[in-house]
C-alpha cells in the first residue's frame, strides 16, 4: 500500500512539473477548447531514472492516444485528442478520414483509454469534417465506448449513477444528434444497450428523441426538399410558389442566364402571377401608377433569396386585397345583428391592414433595375393592360430597409 502511494505521489509530481496548470487543467482543455490552434507541447523532461520507471505506469489518456504522433515526430510531446483532428489538412477533412481517425483510436487499445476526451474532441470537430448530420458517423462514435463495462450488474450500481462521466458523454452524443435533427436508428439503440444497458440515462435520452422527433417531423406547412436545390432558378421556383399561396399560380422564366438578350446583365428573371392578380391588373385604372418595390428577404431554410413585388396603392372603393369573407353561424342571438356579433366575436372582425393589391412577384439573380425591366417587359406581354399603366421603381436593398426601421 505504501509503495502504491509513493508511486502515485511521484506521478503527481511529474504532472506538476510537465504542465504548469497540472494534468487536470490539460484534460479540461481537451474537452472545452474548440479552437486552440497552438500545438501544446510539454517541455522536455529530464531523463532521470524515475522518469523511465513511471513511464510505464503513467497511463494518462493523452499519453497513450498520442503515441503515433510521438513516434512520427520522434519527440516525447504530449498531444491532445483535439490535435489529432486538427492535424488533418483542411482540404482532406472528409467523412472517410474522420472515420479513419475513429478507427485508429478504436484499434489502438482494447481498453479504450481516454475515450471520453476523445469523443468530446470528435464531437467538437464534426462540423469541420462536414459529418454533423451523418447518422453512420454518430453510430461509429458510439462504437468508441468499450462494451459491457458500464452496464450495471448489481442493484447498488443501478441504484446510483453508474459511471456518470461516461453516461454524460453518451448523452452529449445524442444531444448533438438532436441539435442537428438526426434521428437515431435501431443500431444506435443496440450500441447504447451494449455500452450502458437498457436502464441508463443515454437510453432514456434516446427514447425521448424517439418520442418527440416524429411528433414534429411534418408540422411545417411549407416543406422544402433536403438538401435545397443548388440551381438558383429551382430555388426561385420554390420560393415563388411558396409566396404566391396559390396552386394555380403561373410560374414563368422570362430570362435565363445563358440567354442571348440585348440587356447587358446576364442573369435569370423568374416571376409568378395568379389568375386573380391578372384580373386585378386588367381592371386597374390606367392613370394610377403601379410600383415595383424591393428587394425583400425570404429565408428558405438557411438560404436567403431576395424578391420584388409589383403593387399599387389602395384605391378608394376597391375591396382590400386578401380580405376574405368571414362566415359565421347565424344563431338566434346574433341574427341580423352585426353589432352584437362584432361584440361577441371581435377576432372575425379585425380590420385588414390597409394595403394595396400585389400584382406579381419576381426573383432575379442580380436584383438590379436592368433585370427588373426585363421582368416588366415580360409581364406586359402576359398583361396587355400593363402597357398603358405607368410603372414606378422604388428600389432599396433589404439591409437598408432594416437600418431605416431601426
Amino acid at each position: 500500500m505504501a509503495n502504491l502511494t509513493r508511486i502515485f505521489s511521484r506521478q503527481m509530481q511529474l504532472c506538476a512539473r510537465t504542465f504548469p496548470g497540472g494534468l487536470f487543467k490539460q484534460c479540461r482543455n481537451s474537452v472545452y477548447t474548440t479552437c486552440s490552434g497552438a500545438l501544446q507541447k510539454a517541455p522536455a523532461c529530464p531523463s532521470g531514472s524515475y522518469r523511465q520507471k513511471t513511464a510505464q505506469l503513467h497511463s494518462s489518456s493523452q499519453h497513450l492516444a498520442a503515441k503515433d504522433t510521438q513516434e512520427r515526430n520522434d519527440s516525447r510531446a504530449l498531444v491532445l485528442h483535439q490535435q489529432i483532428f486538427e492535424d488533418i489538412d483542411p482540404e482532406v477533412r472528409t467523412k472517410a478520414n474522420f472515420l479513419k481517425v475513429l478507427d485508429n483510436f478504436t484499434k489502438k487499445d482494447i481498453r479504450r483509454r481516454g475515450h471520453v476526451e476523445f469523443i468530446y474532441a470528435a464531437l467538437a470537430k464534426m462540423k469541420d469534417f462536414g459529418v454533423q448530420k451523418d447518422l453512420e458517423v454518430y453510430n461509429k462514435i458510439f462504437d468508441v465506448f468499450p462494451k459491457e463495462v458500464f452496464v450495471p450488474t448489481n442493484f447498488i450500481q443501478s441504484l446510483y449513477n453508474h459511471y456518470p462521466r461516461q453516461q454524460e458523454t453518451g448523452i452529449a452524443i445524442l444531444e448533438q444528434m438532436e441539435y442537428h435533427g438526426v434521428m437515431p436508428s435501431a443500431e444506435t439503440a443496440d450500441l447504447i444497450i451494449k455500452v450502458f444497458g437498457f436502464r441508463s440515462h443515454p437510453m432514456k435520452k434516446f427514447r425521448r428523441i424517439l418520442y418527440w422527433f416524429p411528433k414534429f417531423r411534418h408540422i411545417n406547412p411549407y416543406p422544402l426538399p433536403d438538401p435545397l436545390p443548388t440551381d438558383p432558378v429551382d430555388l426561385a421556383r420554390l420560393a415563388l410558389r411558396r409566396m404566391a399561396d396559390d396552386r394555380k399560380a403561373e410560374f414563368k422564366i422570362y430570362q435565363r442566364e445563358d440567354d442571348e438578350t440585348e440587356s447587358q446583365v446576364k442573369t435569370y428573371v423568374t416571376s409568378i402571377q395568379t389568375v386573380e392578380q391578372q384580373k386585378m391588373l386588367a381592371e386597374h385604372p390606367q392613370d394610377v401608377p403601379v410600383y415595383v418595390e424591393g428587394s425583400f428577404r425570404l429565408w428558405l431554410k438557411d438560404k436567403q433569396v431576395y424578391y420584388h413585388i409589383l403593387r399599387s396603392d389602395l384605391l378608394e372603393g376597391t375591396k382590400e386585397q386578401g380580405m376574405k369573407e368571414k362566415e359565421w353561424v347565424e344563431d338566434d342571438f346574433t341574427k341580423n345583428n352585426e353589432e352584437r356579433r362584432r361584440w361577441l366575436d371581435p377576432v372575425a372582425f379585425v380590420e385588414n391592414v390597409p394595403e394595396g393589391p400585389v400584382f406579381a412577384i419576381c426573383i432575379t439573380g442580380s436584383s438590379c433595375q436592368e433585370s427588373l425591366n426585363t421582368w416588366i417587359k415580360g409581364l406586359q406581354e402576359d398583361n396587355p393592360a400593363l402597357k398603358k399603366i405607368p410603372v414606378i421603381f422604388k428600389l432599396s436593398s433589404a439591409s437598408t430597409q432594416l437600418a431605416a426601421a431601426q
Partner: protein
C-alpha cells in the same frame, strides 16, 4: 397574499422596480455586475433604472417632504385601484359577454402605445451577439426584427446561443399583485402575421406556486410563409407542450388556460442572419369542431401514485 408580499419587500407594494434587467424579479436579484462586460441587454426597463441613477442629486427640503409622503400617496392610489377592481367585479355588466363570447382580441397593434406592453430580449443578456427590436412598421403594426447570431459566448458554460424573443409584460392589479388572463372559454390562439420564411415559437407562461415551476413554459411552433401576403395562423391550445429552461419535459400536461401570465414569441432556429416579423393582432377563439384536449400522451412514469391525490393539494386559484 398581498400583505405577505408587501411585508417581505416594501418596494413591491409601492411599485418601485428594483431590478431593471428582467420582467420577473422584483427584488434586487439581478443587480450584479455584468460578468462578461457585455453591458447586458438594453431593455427599456434597464434604461429607466440607469436614468434614475444619473439623475440623483442633492435633495432640498421640499423634495424630501414630497418623497416622505409619496408612499402614502402611492398606497392610496393602490387602494383606489383595488376598490375599482372590486366594483367592476360586482357590477358584472359583462356577464352576457362572458357567457356567449366566441373570441377575444388579446393584442391589436395599431400604434406606439400598443408596443409598451411588450419586452424584447435576446441572447445579449447572456453574452451572445443577437439583436432584437420591436418597432412600429409603416402600416402601424408591430415589427419584430433584428439579427440572430448563433456564436456561443466564450464563458465556458453556455453551449447554445442565438435567440430573440418578445414577451408581453406581466399585468398587474392593485398592490402590484400579478394578474392573470383567463382563457378557458377558448381553445385556439389566433395570429395574423407577415414573416420572412423563418419559423418562430409561441410561449405561454402560466402562474405557478412552487419555485420548480417558475420556469415552466408551454410552447408551440409557427411557420411563416414569407412574401407580401398576410398570413392567418391558428394554433390550438391542445398542441402546446411543456418545457422548462428550454428542455421538453417528460411528464406533460395541457396548458393551464385559466392563469396565463405572459405570452411571447421566440425565434431560435439556429440560423445566422436578419429576421423580420410583422404582427397585426393576437387573439383567442373558440372552435367547437376542435375536440382535442391535449395532443401528447400523459402517461406517468414515476412511482405509483397515492389514491387520493387527484385533486391538487394547493391551487393558485384558491388564493
Amino acid at each position: 397574499m398581498m400583505t405577505i408580499r408587501a411585508l417581505r419587500s416594501p418596494q413591491l407594494a409601492l411599485g418601485v422596480r428594483v431590478c431593471g434587467r428582467c420582467w420577473r424579479h422584483d427584488g434586487p436579484r439581478h443587480q450584479r455586475a455584468d460578468p462578461l462586460g457585455t453591458d447586458g441587454a438594453r431593455t427599456e426597463a434597464k434604461q429607466e433604472v440607469d436614468g434614475a441613477e444619473t439623475a440623483a442629486r442633492p435633495k432640498g427640503f421640499r423634495t424630501k417632504v414630497v418623497e416622505f409622503f409619496r408612499p402614502a400617496g402611492n398606497a392610496l392610489n393602490e387602494v383606489r385601484k383595488l376598490a375599482n377592481e372590486t366594483f367592476t367585479q360586482m357590477k358584472r355588466d359583462d356577464l352576457e359577454q362572458l357567457m356567449f363570447e366566441d373570441s377575444r382580441i388579446l393584442w391589436k397593434f395599431r400604434g406606439p402605445e400598443d408596443l409598451d406592453q411588450w419586452l424584447v430580449t435576446s441572447d445579449k443578456e447572456m453574452g451572445g451577439k443577437s439583436e432584437a427590436y420591436l418597432t412600429l412598421s409603416e402600416n402601424n403594426t408591430a415589427f419584430f426584427h433584428g439579427v440572430t447570431n448563433i456564436e456561443v459566448p466564450k464563458d465556458g458554460v453556455t453551449r447554445y446561443s442565438g435567440y430573440a424573443a418578445m414577451r408581453s409584460k406581466q399585468r398587474k392589479a392593485a398592490f402590484n399583485r400579478r394578474s392573470q388572463m383567463d382563457l378557458t372559454p377558448f381553445n385556439i390562439l389566433n395570429l395574423r402575421v407577415r414573416g420572412d420564411g423563418r419559423s418562430y415559437m409561441i410561449t405561454l407562461a402560466p402562474e405557478s406556486y412552487f419555485s420548480s415551476q417558475w420556469d415552466d413554459l408551454w410552447c408551440y411552433f409557427f411557420f411563416t410563409r414569407g412574401g407580401p401576403h398576410w398570413q392567418d395562423i391558428q394554433i390550438p391550445f391542445s398542441k402546446f407542450f411543456l418545457t422548462s429552461k428550454g428542455r421538453v419535459q417528460d411528464a406533460q400536461s395541457a396548458v393551464p388556460k385559466d392563469r396565463i401570465n405572459t405570452i411571447g414569441i421566440t425565434l431560435g432556429d439556429k440560423i445566422n442572419g436578419p429576421f423580420e416579423l410583422e404582427i397585426d393582432f393576437m387573439g383567442v377563439t373558440m372552435d367547437l369542431t376542435h375536440k382535442e384536449e391535449f395532443a401528447y400522451e400523459q402517461y406517468y412514469q414515476g412511482p405509483r401514485r397515492k389514491r387520493f391525490t387527484k385533486k391538487p393539494l394547493l391551487s393558485t386559484k384558491d388564493w
